[in-house]
């Protein structure tokens, strides 16, 4: 595995006379080196002979670091084959995946989906793999699969070789799918949350609708207890399901991270939703480790990365997010290799307006706690989120405390919002050929100017707003993008004054604050 893609590794085994010794070459890491001991025990426990000679195992290409336990099965097959204990050869173009237990049974390994995909792309036709991974691998069509629970089964399969019997052992991916009960369409997850449950907060709901429609990053700012977290948790529900290509990407990532879980696998269709705790390290967020593993940003690929209490995250972690937000992927450089993980996520975050949380909270209740923070403390709190990071968050929305319970209307529910998002998506997709991107949030430069054209009235409003509201200049492009999405939601080609006005309202941090 490299990043989220597989690399085909050839395992060569040579047995020569000499002192009994096994050496593995080709930059194996400890888990691969230990493979020898597992293989030796497994072979013995199957009643076969582990040759007492000089054995050399080469993992090619030899200059690439190998890690993980998925080579066990291939090494065992190699040793058996080289010592003439495998009755006949396995079919041509067969890939072996699997970790061995000491008794010879085969254990599941993570990342099988990516490996199977790589096998297909490299022209392999057969994949022998742990029985527990069978359904996962079957998501890749066009392969003949052999799920094995024990090393002995592999030996049997080899013995059967090209006979009729073998044809029955190997099954096509499509067969596996059929027997599992239909193609992978499950796992959309129960829609537990609905926006209809959120009373009031129409402004915030609309902002989230806009964010979902144009894939804009969003931060909600408001005093504690106003339902910011509740609002964002319902966000996946209004985003369209993953399409086939996206679903495969996402499922691959989760397979590598070992997060698919047991049971019959299916493509993940719902948008991933990751909400790491704010104590997470930079490595945990974007991926890292000696052998880099995907971080939360990658697990949130094609979905939502939710950072609750944004300023509480460490500065290092937040700054590390800048690259994925810009490039839509994470690059982790190590001395021997550079790993790339996809990280095309939508950032949704919440924050309090000040350290104590009550800044600006005086709606209705006179006895509500008052903000006791000095202006300097408030500024320091906001400064935790650096300008470049804030620049990448299109929507900054204030969520005020609702006036009182039971007064507010329910407003939009998830179903109706999802419908509108789908509509806005259609408009964006129709434009994507010309614009070069399928999301409004990624419009830039000329494409932005071309596709986010303002009506005369809107132009005037924007100019006036700049003059009298003290908007910052960097907000200009953001407002255009947002206005484009708002107009898409409205099913309009031209951006009108109302759309621009709404976009301006979503840029809470740009306005010069009213001092108290």
């Amino acid at each position: 595995m490299e990043g989220v893609d597989g690399r085909l590794i050839e395992v060569e085994v040579d047995i020569a006379s000499g002192l009994p010794q096994v050496s593995i070459v080709g930059l194996p890491d400890p888990a691969v080196r230990e493979s020898v001991d597992r293989v030796r025990a497994a072979i013995r426990n199957c009643g076969m002979q582990f040759p007492l000679e000089r054995i050399t195992v080469n993992l090619a290409p030899a200059d690439l670091r190998k890690q993980g336990t998925a080579f066990d099965l291939a090494i065992a097959a190699g040793v058996l084959g080289a010592s003439g204990q495998l009755g006949a050869a396995l079919p041509e173009r067969t890939m072996l995946i699997g970790e061995l237990a000491l008794d010879g049974s085969v254990r599941a390994v993570p990342g099988v989906l990516a490996m199977a995909e790589q096998a297909r792309d490299c022209g392999m036709t057969n994949v022998a793999l742990p029985a527990d991974n069978l359904s996962e691998a079957s998501l890749i069509g066009g392969l003949r699969l052999l799920g094995i629970g024990h090393l002995r089964q592999l030996i049997e399969a080899a013995a059967a070789a090209c006979s009729e019997q073998a044809e029955r052992l190997w099954v096509s991916a499509e067969q596996v799918q059929r027997s599992a009960g239909g193609p992978g369409m499950a796992a959309t997850g129960p829609e537990a949350y609905d926006y209809g449950e959120v009373l009031g907060q129409h402004h915030a709901k609309r902002a989230l609708l806009t964010a979902a429609a144009g894939r804009h990053n969003i931060v909600l700012s408001g005093p504690p207890g106003t339902g910011k977290t509740m609002l964002i948790r319902r966000l996946p529900g209004i985003m369209p399901l993953l399409d086939d290509a996206e679903a495969l990407e996402v499922t691959k990532i989760h397979s590598i991270a070992g997060k698919l879980g047991a049971g019959p696998a299916a493509l993940i269709r719902s948008r991933p939703f990751r909400d790491p705790h704010h104590t997470i390290s930079a490595g945990g967020l974007i991926g890292g480790g000696t052998h880099p593993r995907p971080g939360e940003a990658t697990l949130a690929h094609r979905g939502i990365l939710f950072l609750d209490e944004l300023p509480e995250f460490s500065r290092a972690a937040l700054e590390a997010l800048r690259q994925p937000l810009e490039d839509r992927s994470v690059t982790i450089a190590r001395t021997r290799a550079v790993h790339r993980f996809p990280a095309h996520f939508m950032l949704a975050a919440t924050m309090n307006p000040c350290p104590c949380g009550y800044y600006g909270d005086e709606s209705g209740e006179w006895e509500a706690p008052r903000c006791s923070c000095s202006a300097r403390k408030i500024e320091a709190y906001r400064m935790k989120i650096s300008g470049p990071l804030l620049d990448r968050i299109d929507l900054q929305v204030e969520v005020p405390r609702p006036p009182s319970f039971g007064e507010a209307a329910a407003g939009m529910d998830t179903a109706s919002m999802l419908e509108r998002v789908a509509l806005a998506r259609e408009r964006q997709t129709a434009r994507s050929e010309q614009a070069g991107t399928s999301w409004n949030s990624e419009l830039s430069g000329r494409a932005l100017r071309e596709h986010a054209r303002l009506s005369g009235e809107a132009q005037l409003l924007l100019q006036e707003a700049y003059r009298s509201l003290g908007l910052s200049l960097r907000a200009h492009d953001r407002i255009l993008k947002l206005a484009r999405t708002v107009a898409d939601l409205d099913d309009r080609a031209e951006i009108g004054a109302a759309h621009v006005a709404e976009a301006i309202q979503y840029r809470a941090f740009d306005r010069a604050p009213v001092q108290g």
């Binding site: 909270d361 005086e362 709606s363 006036p403 209307a409 003059r467 009298s468 006005a501 009213v514």
Partner: protein, 372 residues
Amino acid sequence: MKEPVEWSERLVLLALHEAKGIGWRSIRKALASGSLVQCVHYAEAQWRELGLSGAQAASARSVLMHAEAAAASLERYARMGVRVITMLDDDYPELLRETHEPPWVLYAKGRVELLKTPALALVGTRTPSAYGRQATIRLARELAARGLTIVSGLAKGIDRCAHEGALTNGGATIAVLGTPIDIVYPAEHRALFACIAQQGLLVSEYPIGTRCHAGLFPQRNRIIAGLSVGTAVVEAAQRSGSLITVDHAITMNREVFAVPGPVQSRYSEGTHQLLKNGAKLLAEAEDVMEEFIHRPDILGRLQPSKSAPPPPETKLTGDEVRLLRLVREKPGTADELHERSGMPFGLLHAVLINLTIKRRIEQHPGFIYRAF
């Protein structure tokens, strides 16, 4: 070689005022003993005879050894653009001189002539509600337009609003600092500080180099009250520092005004108590004018600003008029206005932005809209 500097009464007063350990009372004792110039020659023993402690006497003796040091201090202030006004000067405000414990020396920066204009103190809590902020800004603006100088303490909250309100249409304002005149406290008021130094007047009793501490702030309240013909309070809790200013005003026999607040608010307790005790209710500038109707000494000196004609009434659309009426009825968030007006969001936002641009409403922290 410089000319030797001669001691003058003024210079002695300044030297003693800036001397370490010498307080307001010690200086009064020196003054009571006769001419200040004589004091220059006092030995420590003579100082002690006046009732000063040993340390104080030593301090007084040492600062009066060299007139050059005192003169150099004066020069330093001049270079910084700070006017030093002592009790002995004609520039010293008469109203303040009448008080019980007037500061011996004032350090001032800005339009010093404001000290001679009729002034009204406008003070209140440091954590105001939006209501308090708006009431203060409006009152300060209107009172300043009638020629009153608005005095306050450059603190957060109401003080700040009072200064800003007075300055909006070119009105006059005096900020009495609880710190030396070269220190901006709180630091976020830097811009306001600079603005007042230009268009208004900064005043402090404390020489540059005085260690700042919380105890200095209540002290300066007597100057706020002392400079003013009356003191008005907006939003003060039961034990607010603003009430100290009011106590000073009462002792000085000056007028006291209080702006009523919502009855549920903790920040109305102080002001409502004042009203019960006979303070004059202040709701609009006219309330202050009425109080001084029989005081030609005050009204006669007022120089109402040649009131700039109100900004030309920009035309409002039907929707804008409707929404403005709703906001005036009761301020609210966009959500509440959406529910109350029934306007679709796009339109609502456009109308809100337009009304903000036309300066009819204002967006406050917490996404609350209020009418001006």
